[in-house]
């Protein structure tokens, strides 16, 4: 009997597919479903879906996790392993992974690994379980997590050994009794995925726990303003930084979306005396933002880091002011390249969330997206096992740092913080010139073949990381001098 049904089904499917394929081949475009193929190719799958969402809702489609576009050409940078010119690090020598954020602060923040968990707010973005799991994983590996633009969630504070809090445009963490509980303060003026655009969470999406942490009245929306409350001039920002530094003693930093105005923004930050700067590139993620804000604004993370570092060096602030890179850093290779370009540490958001969900994604699939287990408004937030999630992220972070250590060994370095531009080569001439990384297509002492203006001014090893003010390069030295 079953055999009979199976044969009948096969016959019916065969007949249907035959008819469909015949029509697909014979019908002209106006009548054929094949018309979808060039349309989809022209518009693109994601844009096609978002076009339909806009037409259905009449409002921006809140796309999660940031732009799908890959702005930063990380694959155009490669590390330079060593063999004889400098020897690889012996395997019994440990690679130092700890970094200090804000060394000039009265109470600097030292983390065991240079990967920090990015600001993702409770309520505005993630569920309480997800925030606690992030904090537990961060504590297990000796790094810091970040509150995001939220109030102080007591459970997160308790679970996080090191907590960076965002002094935010909603004003929810801006009272002394809140920010004095933090290990570092990050003044949040913008983010890569949304620039400095205001955001609003409707009261219908705000539960009692959210209201309590944010100090909202029932029926009140949670609003992130485009400006920080009380900061409408550069002088007011400078006064704020100085007050927070004096009052708390912890590192006080600035987080901005990376833009072409980067140096002008940093000039104000340095005048204010910040301890660290977080530049969030255009690839930065978010729980849900308008696609145009994500795809069409900002500066790619790779260029933002290189420019920020270059500016700090020129202002003689590198080393004293820590640089944290953020925005679309997914692989350990990308993270380490960001550090080689000058970042002291990196933030990960999207990668951390995916790793946090880990193998629990199967609980949500195929009927719900895996993110429904971690976002505040998700249907499956109650199903997230905090222990499993924290362990999953801990494994991911450990794997990432181990891979970074492997690269360091091959580069002959004994500390991740020692890896710099000289450990990279670029495969693209424009990228090489823009970042100060040597072009891998020609020998170090023959760079002038492609860049004639460098003739007689190039050091054989590499462009020194601490380029002197004015950009003048040292005179050419013996081309056989070993790299250091």
């Amino acid at each position: 009997m079953l055999r009979l049904i199976e044969n009948w089904l096969r016959s019916a499917i065969n007949e249907t597919v035959d008819k469909a394929l015949t029509r697909l081949v014979r019908d002209q475009y106006p009548e054929s479903i094949a018309e979808m193929l060039p349309s989809l190719q022209k518009v693109g799958g994601v844009r096609f879906a978002e076009l339909l969402m806009r037409s259905a809702q009449g409002a921006p489609a809140p796309r999660p996790l940031g732009s799908p576009q890959r702005f930063s050409p990380w694959e155009q940078l490669l590390f330079n392993p060593v063999h004889l010119c400098r020897f690889p690090t012996p395997e019994n020598v440990p690679v130092a992974t700890a970094v200090t954020i804000g060394p000039r602060a009265r109470r600097p923040l030292t983390v065991a690994i240079p990967i920090l968990i990015a600001g993702m707010s409770f309520g505005g973005a993630l569920s309480k379980r997800a925030k606690i799991a992030l904090a537990r994983a961060a504590s297990a590996v000796g790094t810091a997590t970040n509150t995001g633009e939220a109030g102080l969630l007591a459970e997160e504070r308790a679970a996080a050994r090191l907590l960076i809090g965002q002094y935010n445009r909603g004003g929810w963490l801006n009272a002394p009794e809140q920010y004095r509980q933090l290990d570092a303060i990050e003044i949040q003026l913008g983010q890569g995925a949304q620039g400095s655009t205001p955001q609003r969470t409707r009261a219908r999406n705000i539960g009692p726990d959210y209201r309590e942490v944010f100090g909202l009245a029932e029926g009140e929306d949670a609003v992130i303003h485009s400006r920080l409350p009380g900061v409408n001039s550069q002088q007011e920002f400078i006064r704020l930084v100085r007050r927070l530094r004096a009052e708390t003693g912890v590192p006080v930093g600035l987080k901005i979306a990376a833009t072409h105005h980067l140096e002008r923004e940093l000039a104000v930050a340095l005048e204010a005396g910040v301890d660290f700067v977080t530049v969030d590139g255009a690839e930065g993620g978010t729980h849900g933002g308008a696609p145009t804000l994500q795809d069409d604004m900002g500066l790619p993370t790779l260029y933002a880091v290189a420019r920020a570092r270059d500016y700090l060096v020129r202002q003689k602030a590198a080393g004293g002011v820590s640089l944290i890179a953020a925005g679309g850093l997914i692989t350990p290779g990308q993270m380490l390249k960001a550090m080689a370009l000058g970042a002291d540490a990196v933030y990960i958001g999207t990668a951390a969330v995916i790793a946090l969900i880990g193998d629990q994604a199967v609980e949500a699939l195929p009927f719900e997206p895996p993110t429904s287990m971690v976002v505040y408004t998700g249907k499956l937030t109650d199903q997230l096992d905090e222990d499993r999630a924290a362990r999953s992220l801990q494994r991911f972070l450990n794997a990432c740092v181990t891979e970074m250590e492997m690269v360091a060994v091959s580069l002959g370095r004994t500390a991740l913080a020692d890896i710099n531009k000289s450990d990279l080569c670029a495969l693209d001439p424009v990228l090489a010139r823009a970042t100060g990384v040597q072009l891998g297509l020609v020998a170090p002492d023959r760079q002038e073949r492609l860049f004639p203006e460098l003739a007689g001014r190039w050091q054989p090893g590499w462009l020194p990381p601490a380029e002197p003010p004015g950009g003048s390069l040292p005179e050419r030295q013996d081309p056989l001098e070993p790299v250091h």
């Binding site: 440990p94 992974t97 700890a98 030292t110 065991a112 000796g142 801990q394 450990n398």
Partner: protein, 93 residues
């Protein structure tokens, strides 16, 4: 607290920090060896313990680094205390 007491306190703290630095370095090395040992087993729970050992090793290395930095700061404080003591001693004569 008297100047001499301050000086002794600084010396004591520096000595203890040096000891903690050494202990942290040794323990970090032991944790790394444990990680290597545990990684030989193809057992999920042991591999998780191995990951924890590696994290512990890195955190102990961080403690070692912080101790080194604190020793430097304490040495600066001790020097400042010494200078203040000398100034006070000179002015009293």
């Amino acid at each position: 607290m008297q100047h001499e007491d301050l000086n002794h306190a600084c010396a004591y703290i520096i000595s203890e920090l040096n000891r903690i630095e050494t202990v942290a370095g040794t323990l970090a090395m032991i944790e790394r060896e444990h990680y290597d040992t545990l990684n030989r087993f193809d057992h999920r729970e042991l591999l998780d313990v191995a990951v924890e050992e590696q994290s512990a090793a890195r955190q102990l290395s961080m403690v070692k680094q912080v101790c080194g930095e604190l020793v430097q700061k304490m040495a600066e404080i001790q020097q400042a205390v010494g200078r203040q003591g000398e100034t006070g001693h000179a002015s009293s004569h």
